[in-house]
Symmetry: C2
Subunit: 199 residues, 2 copies
DNA sequence: TGTTTTGAAATATGTACAAATATCAAAACT
DNA sequence: AGTTTTGATATTTGTACATATTTCAAAACA
């Protein structure tokens, strides 16, 4: 015969139980059926989402990470020559399939975009209104093109160091270099890895 | 009492039953639990995948569509000024969240990538080794930058029409324009919408 | 002999459910 | 009075299962 224990701890009471939104995604989930080949990519995405939310929890500011995700998209990349007409897969025109996010974003949690203004970096292929891909995890060294806040103003320049003097160099003869002295408040946001130019 | 019907059609036999891979994805599926905010995007992706596979069934050649999907990726886009340090969401530095595929690929089924060669289009911001985003669904009109096969050679130029004479113009004084005459076999692949430049 | 109809079998798919996990107020302990 | 332990409860989460769908060979038909 089993002893009936009358436990007095725990028990029914308001506010008991697991809280809504206590999943790693901070929101409810639902079961979705997806094809095998998409399982791994989507799982990767879910891990990434979790990591972002975790990072978010440690930040004082918010909004750095998206609340909604976009559609996946992989498209073929062609290269080389082509017999007149559209290329055939028999020939090796298809270099490989390419995903833009994979190509341009190595570390999602450390990457953001900035829209370029001005013509000071034309020589580096950066035109007004271009979108710059910026990686905050890359080491800032002389020669790198960086996004920085100069006295509160966002700017893109090539960082350089000549005779122990740090410079921000424009890649356009019409613009003067900026010498970094103590009165100048300069904060580097990250290193520009790619430029997206719309025609 | 129920009448026991002895059906003679159908019945046990080899090769009966639904075939493996008879799903719209041509492969097996599995249930995956995803956060609410990802449900719609992923459903969109699944629809896209189905549409691609359907289109594939109607094509003679393959390989235009990917067999494996990439990770999703949305990142913030910043704009404007910034108080020294990293931007705060209280200010409006965050222009919007941005997905590269969404930004650069309007029609996945009509879009592909080509790697640029040569310096003939420097003036349009196209450098050697840049990746060009090409949309085959955009109408080819004078002024557009197009990818075309010229006697089997892949090239990128600006299409123009002067006095009813069609031209392919380079955007670099060092390169001559190409006049389109009957002996020249020219097939337009599509219109260049974006240029991706690596630093 | 060629065409159409038919139903059992095999796979596909949405979801219900059981098991796992997190939460917190009250009890027990210092 | 403050800290730690405890267990009922609410939610999350993986997956088994019931249902729907597709397929094909044999039977029925023309």
């Amino acid at each position: 015969m089993t002893q009936l224990k009358t436990e007095t701890r725990g028990g029914a009471r308001p506010n008991a139980g697991r809280k809504k939104g206590s999943s790693p995604y901070k929101e409810s989930t639902q079961a979705l059926r997806v094809p095998d080949s998409l399982v791994l990519p989507i799982k990767k995405l879910l891990e990434q989402r979790k990591a972002q939310l975790e990072a978010l929890g440690k930040m004082t500011t918010e909004l750095y990470f998206p609340t909604q995700a976009p559609p996946l998209c992989v498209l073929p990349l062609f290269a080389g020559k082509v017999a007149a007409g559209f290329p055939s897969p028999a020939d090796d025109y298809v270099e490989k399939n390419l995903d833009l996010n994979e190509l341009l974003v190595q570390k999602p949690a450390a990457t953001f975009f900035v829209r370029a203004q001005g013509e000071s970096m034309l020589g580096a292929g950066i035109h007004p209104n271009d979108i710059l891909v910026v990686d905050r995890s890359i080491e800032v060294t002389p020669g790198k093109i960086v996004i920085c806040a100069l006295n509160g103003e966002l700017t893109v320049k090539r960082l350089d160091c000549i005779n122990e003097q740090w410079l921000l160099k424009a890649e356009n003869p019409a613009y003067a270099d900026i010498i970094l002295h103590d009165e100048l408040e300069m904060v580097v946001w990250g290193v520009v890895t790619n430029v997206i130019h719309s025609l």
